[in-house]
Amino acid sequence: MTLTTLNVWLDVAFTTIYPIMLIALAAHFTGNILTGRAKRRFGKQWEWPHHDSHPPLLPKMLHFMHVFSMIMLGATGLLIRFPQFNRTPMRVIHYVFMVIVVANLIWRLWYAFASRQRDYKEFVINKRDITTAPKVILYYIFIKPSKPHLGKYNVMQKGTYSLFVPLLIIQAITGFMLFRVGIPFVDTSLYELAAGVIGATGIFWVRTTHYIVNWLFIIITTIHVYLSVTEDFPAFLDFFGMGGLDPNNRHGDHEEHPLDDELAPAYASVDHAQ
């Protein structure tokens, strides 16, 4: 398969998968309605998963910046590949949010691994996550009425959020390799340096990789937004500064686990929002 045919296949695949995914999400929400989950959550019962604490302010702010930047990057990225009007402003916007996202990533990694509140353990998939993974999946496909509650995130969330880090790193590296803006005081650009090493064909592969990862982000983010709203709407509102999250609410579609009664670890119990 030639590069060009591959690119057409990628367009066809992603522009087919995305609408199918939207239909699947609509079908899933129908499942929520049919099983009564939607009524229990969005109705008078307002039954949502409980939280040990308010999400800390800093990651919440980083998350907000990240979401907005990723939406802008995804949209401008597609408009650079499929121009509908002048690409130059799209590139400028893309570059601006690229800087924000990279800075955000570095900041979040520092927060996760090096700050006083380091919360990387919340994202680590442990043995119990793996053993309970089938139950989580069965819950999402409406076979089980509840899912095991082992921590702040379930195994699918941990996997997805952890996947974001390598994908972001890949996207940052490939993005910088396509960055044509000149380096100050040096008569070259990262693109020229990269192309000088890997050649035009290599750059084409880099561009193709960047495009694939862009679509992965668009798909994952869409699913993430859907599940955030339907599975934990108070947390969704809270993440956007609209309140609604009550750490004392102990209701929800999760099985009470013996560990629930244990003291939450320090990284999880510090309420940074206070």
Binding site: N86, A195, A200
Partner: protein, 329 residues
């Protein structure tokens, strides 16, 4: 009575003299004012005659040797030929910003000097063709004209061909019988931008598909839709994507099968790797080249798209059939 007449004469005579004197003074003032007003024009005309090739004021009837703008500066000037009405208006403002602002009208319209009316040129040559190929008579454009005549757009056609054979060959290929002349691409609307006119050069680049597509390469203009070249260019971003001539050459434009052509396989590495384009181009990169004008075809032939198209046609057919039942009933 006599004394009365004397008084009257005495009164009239000095007044008559006074009136005449006033008239003389007024006349002198008028002459001086007129001279003052006319002086710049006279000076300008004198200067203009001396520097006729560098400065041009079409507003002056005696200037430019032909004074074309006396008539052609009128926006209402039209030529009616059968059912076609064409404007004969020449915008002085447009001319003043063009690369040829210092040239005389007769510099390009070579057969029109002093002829009036000029429905045809003196030797019967099509005046438009004469004007559009007048660049050849300027020494500044000799290299470009030499390139042009050695390319595929040469009026001479293939070496050894007669003019009629060339016309027939072009007609057989679905092209206009006449080859494109300088003015066909470089605008015959008197607005050829100078090299310093960035906006004009940009506007010219934007017209690439119109210039090359038009009556000649319409298919290639339409299928110039690949991601990073055609799609961007089609959206009117002339400096963000290559215009036709960036890959196909400017004046010595040759068919792809010609080994000298910029888009011939043997030259594609250089063409794709020219300054401002791709870096590190090698043979493997050239597999993209057919895609520049071939993306639409690849998209159309993609099996998934073929499937969707057949489903769409099937659903459309079914809807039409069901609709027709109700129409019958």
């Amino acid at each position: 009575m006599m004394s009365s007449l004397r008084r009257t004469r005495a009164w009239i005579t000095p007044n008559k003299e006074k009136t005449a004197s006033v008239r003389i003074w007024l006349s002198m003032v008028v002459v001086c004012v007129a001279a003052g007003l006319a002086l710049p024009s006279i000076t300008h005309a004198a200067e203009a005659t001396a520097t006729a090739t560098t400065e041009l004021n079409f507003a002056l009837p005696t200037y430019g040797k032909s004074g074309c703008v006396v008539c052609h500066g009128d926006p209402n000037l039209v030529k009616v030929s059968g059912e076609t009405t064409s404007t004969m208006y020449v915008s002085v403002a447009q001319l003043e910003t063009s690369a040829h602002k210092a040239d005389l009208c007769t510099g390009c319209h070579v057969d029109f000097a002093y002829t009036s009316p000029h429905s045809s040129t003196a030797n019967g040559t099509d005046w438009e063709s004469v004007a559009k190929s007048a660049c050849s008579s300027c020494k500044d454009h000799q290299p470009q004209f030499a390139d042009y005549t050695s390319g595929a757009h040469s009026p001479a056609g293939t070496p050894g061909e007669t003019a009629s054979q060339t016309a027939a060959a072009r007609a057989a290929q679905g092209k206009p019988a006449a080859v494109p002349l300088c003015g066909d691409c470089h605008s015959a609307s008197h607005a050829i931008p100078s090299k310093d006119d960035t906006a004009g050069q940009t506007a010219f680049r934007k017209r690439g598909l119109e210039i090359c597509g038009g009556e000649c390469h319409g298919d290639q203009a339409d299928n110039y839709t690949d991601y990073y070249h055609g799609a961007a260019y089609q959206e009117g971003q002339p400096h963000d994507a290559p215009a036709c001539w960036d890959c196909h050459g400017t004046h010595e434009i040759l068919p792809a099968k010609d080994r000298r052509s910029m888009v011939n396989e043997r030259n594609l590495v250089d063409t794709c790797g020219q300054a401002g384009c791709h870096i590190g181009v090698d043979e493997s990169f050239l597999e993209y080249a057919p895609f520049v004008h071939g993306r639409d075809e690849v998209v159309t032939l993609n099996p998934v798209n073929v499937f969707f198209e057949s489903v769409r046609a099937g659903v459309g057919g079914a809807v039409d059939t069901v609709t027709s039942w109700f129409q019958r009933g």
